[in-house]
């Protein structure tokens, strides 16, 4: 807008004939217009593909909608029904357990690998790529199928465990282990948080370690007192991202457990149940309500994490006595 007023001559050149007032003309002219044009793919995208469907879904969540007939308004019924729906409660439970297991295990593994790779040794580039690799393919259907086969009766995992005298049978068919199998699949894809941890570790000043060493601090002490506090912003960032991601796990769970969350409902994730209700049972209103509940739940967890972050995340520039 301001640019347009600087160049009145150009505005005159393209001003359309007609009733448009001067303000209108200014908006549509020259650079302003070009700006909007360049923005338009994003604006169209967000309005048509994100905002539109979101508003629709919010409306549908208060209706009984079976995809074929027009939705009928039923108020909060969908939301109320969830709390007496045994499968909904199960899906919340499964998802909560998964998040509580997968996120810490994956972050711990990513941090451990990042620390191993944060030293100057030959072939670092190769190892970094090798550890990042699974993140590129891990979310695919193919890998999930292979994963399920690896954890079936008499397959690799079963046989290796038997060598150590542990007889669990195939994890894929055992409701007590099937979720753990998916936790391991997530952990295997530790590439993204690992790279971020690595960047964080590089930022920790060497002098701190040297000083600590002079004072006689051991490895563990250095880790707890220097590394962790220094990378806490990165840790927090990873924690947020991974938590939000973990709530939305779908592909691998669908391949392993199908719409029923086999075996015996042990992999009935929230997203799987949502999908099954919407596209399997054609209860789109209920599925929409579930989607909004998920958003609410993830939002609450995120707020909670931000609250706790005040106690343990230190940004450089914070002085110690502020704590």
């Amino acid at each position: 807008m301001s640019r347009a007023t600087i160049a009145p001559d150009r505005r005159a050149e393209v001003a359309p004939a007609g009733r448009t007032g001067p303000r209108e003309r200014a908006r549509l002219s020259g650079d302003g217009l070009a700006g909007y044009l360049f923005l338009s793919p994003w604006i169209i995208g967000i309005v048509l593909l994100t905002l539109g469907p979101m508003v629709t879904s919010l409306y549908l969540s208060f209706t009984d909608y079976d995809l074929f007939n027009a939705p009928t308004w039923i108020g909060l019924e969908n939301y109320q029904r969830m709390f007496t729906d045994a499968r909904w409660l199960r899906s919340v439970q499964v998802t909560a357990i998964y998040v509580a297991l997968a996120v810490p295990i994956k972050l711990a593994a990513a941090l451990a690998v990042a620390m191993l790779l944060n030293s100057k040794r030959a072939g670092q580039g190769f190892y970094r790529a090798a550890f990042y690799g699974p993140s590129l393919i891990g979310g695919s259907v193919g890998v999930a199928i292979v994963w399920k086969m690896m954890f079936s009766d008499d397959s690799v995992v079963d046989q290796v465990l038997l060598k150590f005298g542990i007889d669990t049978g195939g994890w894929a068919g055992n409701p007590d282990f099937s979720l753990m199998m998916l936790v391991l699949l997530a952990t295997w894809q530790l590439g993204a948080p690992m790279v971020i941890f690595l960047a964080g570790l590089k930022q920790v000043p060497r002098e701190l370690y040297e000083a600590a060493e002079v004072d006689g601090a051991g490895r563990a002490r250095r880790f707890w007192s220097i590394t962790l506090p220094m990378i806490s912003p990165v840790l927090f960032f990873n924690l947020l991202l991974e938590t939000i991601n973990a709530f939305q796990v779908f592909t691998s769970a669908y391949v392993v457990g199908g719409p029923n969350g086999q075996p015996a409902g042990s992999t009935l994730f929230y997203t799987i149940y949502l999908f099954d209700r919407g596209f399997g049972d054609y209860r789109m209103g209920y599925a929409s309500a579930m989607a909004w509940m998920l958003l609410l739940g993830v939002g609450l967890v995120t707020v909670f994490l931000f609250r706790t972050a005040r106690g343990w995340v230190f940004y450089s520039g914070d002085s110690g006595d502020k704590r």
């Binding site: 393209v14 217009l33 074929f68 068919g173 075996p263």
Partner: protein, 422 residues
């Protein structure tokens, strides 16, 4: 110059595009007069079926040069997700493959065209096998034409029966004989006697029909009470606990393969046309009579394995009906498909199909049963697909020992009430 001018051009062309996309409009005119048309045709299946389908479509187009067919396919589950969204979006294909479990659901939702209007004009139905005639009819309207039929039968491996010293099933064997046979085989050979017996509600249907009942009544209610279901659940639980049938954790792991395919069981009740699939890896299999406690009443019927329906919103009902008619009547098509869609639905196609090996066995099996088949039940109520899934899910938990038979019965009835009630 003018960015605005460019913008106007862009806007105009976009409006034009939208107009084209939303356009179309009513076909109008005589519904039975087939003119030039392009039909969208969707089905579920795999690459193998797609190849056969393409051959049949090519043949249809060469005989009806004014009609063009554009096909698309998905596997079963994805197919129904796509159909649901396309139908909801008013964008359903002209001709679509239909499952018996969904036909009422789609017709009640006004998604299907009444083919009665085309019968005798563009659609020939006279040659359909007795059990399949009228199978796609609901409340006097014709919403689908079967393209294949199959029946619930007993498929078994005679070698394992011999190894265990158990007599092969013969006409008139009872449910007790059946359970004893499974038990003896499991004990003597180490191979499970049967598959997921309690997980299939078609086993329950078979028993109900033998007792003179139905799985779903004419008015779309459950055809059995809690006590009857409990009996079935307890029976299934006993078979699972006694390790007579394949352990559920094994069945879950081999999915989507079948136990008979992997030689994990000595026999199983199931759709007879699956023989062709099992026989690829397990060629010694045979088809036998189903157990019954009422001699002479097997409870079996000819079920449409799949149907073809025409979308309510099609602009070319006459051309669509022609395609459907061609798919069920043309002998060449019967030859192309063999038993891929179930056994061919019409006498002409069955004669042309030249079935060999295991498929010939299936055809002979159905032929022998022809006069004993009971009446094909009414199309299952809306939500039957959901309930079948619930049955699978609940019986799985039962076999894992997570719930008791009583809880299983209660869960199923709760879900049935929710699903059928609304």
């Amino acid at each position: 110059m003018g960015a605005l001018k460019r913008f106007r051009v862009l806007a105009t062309s976009m409006v034009a595009l939208l107009a084209v996309a939303c356009g179309g409009g009513g076909g109008g005119g005589d519904e039975t007069q087939a003119g030039p048309a392009t039909l969208r045709f969707s089905w579920w299946g795999n690459a193998e079926r797609a190849e056969l389908m393409q051959k049949a479509i090519d043949l249809f187009q060469s005989k009806n040069p004014e009609i063009k067919v554009t096909p698309s396919f998905q596997e079963f589950e994805a197919y129904w997700q796509k159909m649901a969204t396309e139908t909801a979006g008013g964008n359903a294909p002209d001709v679509l493959q239909m499952d018996f479990a969904y036909i009422r659901e789609y017709s009640e939702r006004n998604a299907l065209y009444d083919l009665k209007k085309q019968e005798g004009k563009n659609l020939e139905l006279g040659d359909l096998l007795t059990g399949l005639k009228g199978a796609g009819e609901i409340d006097g309207k014709l919403y689908g034409v079967p393209t294949g039929g199959n029946t619930w039968g007993y498929i078994y491996d005679p070698a394992l029966f011999a190894q265990a010293g158990v007599e092969e099933p013969k006409e008139g064997w009872t449910w007790d004989d059946y359970r004893d046979a499974m038990k003896t085989i499991a004990e003597k050979t180490g191979v499970s006697g049967g598959g997921n017996y309690v997980g299939s509600y078609y086993n329950l249907e078979l028993q109900l029909r033998q007792e003179g009942g139905l799985l779903y009544t004419e008015d779309g209610k459950l055809g059995f009470d809690k006590a009857r279901l409990k009996e079935f659940m307890e029976e299934g639980k006993a078979l699972a606990d006694g390790k007579t049938v394949l352990p559920i954790e094994k069945g879950v792991q081999i999915k989507p393969a079948f136990a008979l395919e992997q030689k994990l069981v000595a026999g199983d009740l199931g759709w007879d046309n699956f023989m062709s699939r099992y026989a690829k890896s397990n060629p010694g299999l045979k088809l036998g009579p189903v157990p019954t406690d009422k001699a002479g009443t097997s409870g079996q019927y000819l079920k449409p394995s799949m149907l073809l329906s025409v979308s309510q919103k099609t602009e070319h009902p006459a051309a669509a009906a022609k395609l459907v008619s061609f798919m069920v009547n043309d002998p060449e098509v019967g030859k192309i498909f063999g038993a891929n869609r179930g056994l061919p639905p019409t006498n002409a196609q069955r004669a042309a199909a030249q079935l060999e090996g295991p498929l010939a066995a299936v055809a002979a099996y159905e032929d022998a049963l022809k006069d004993k088949f009971g009446k094909t039940p009414p199309a299952p109520p809306k939500g039957a697909g959901t309930l079948e899934q619930a049955f699978i899910r609940i019986t799985e938990e039962l076999q894992y020992g997570r719930i008791t038979p009583d809880q299983a019965v209660d869960q199923f009835f709760t879900e049935a009430e929710e699903t059928l009630g609304s």
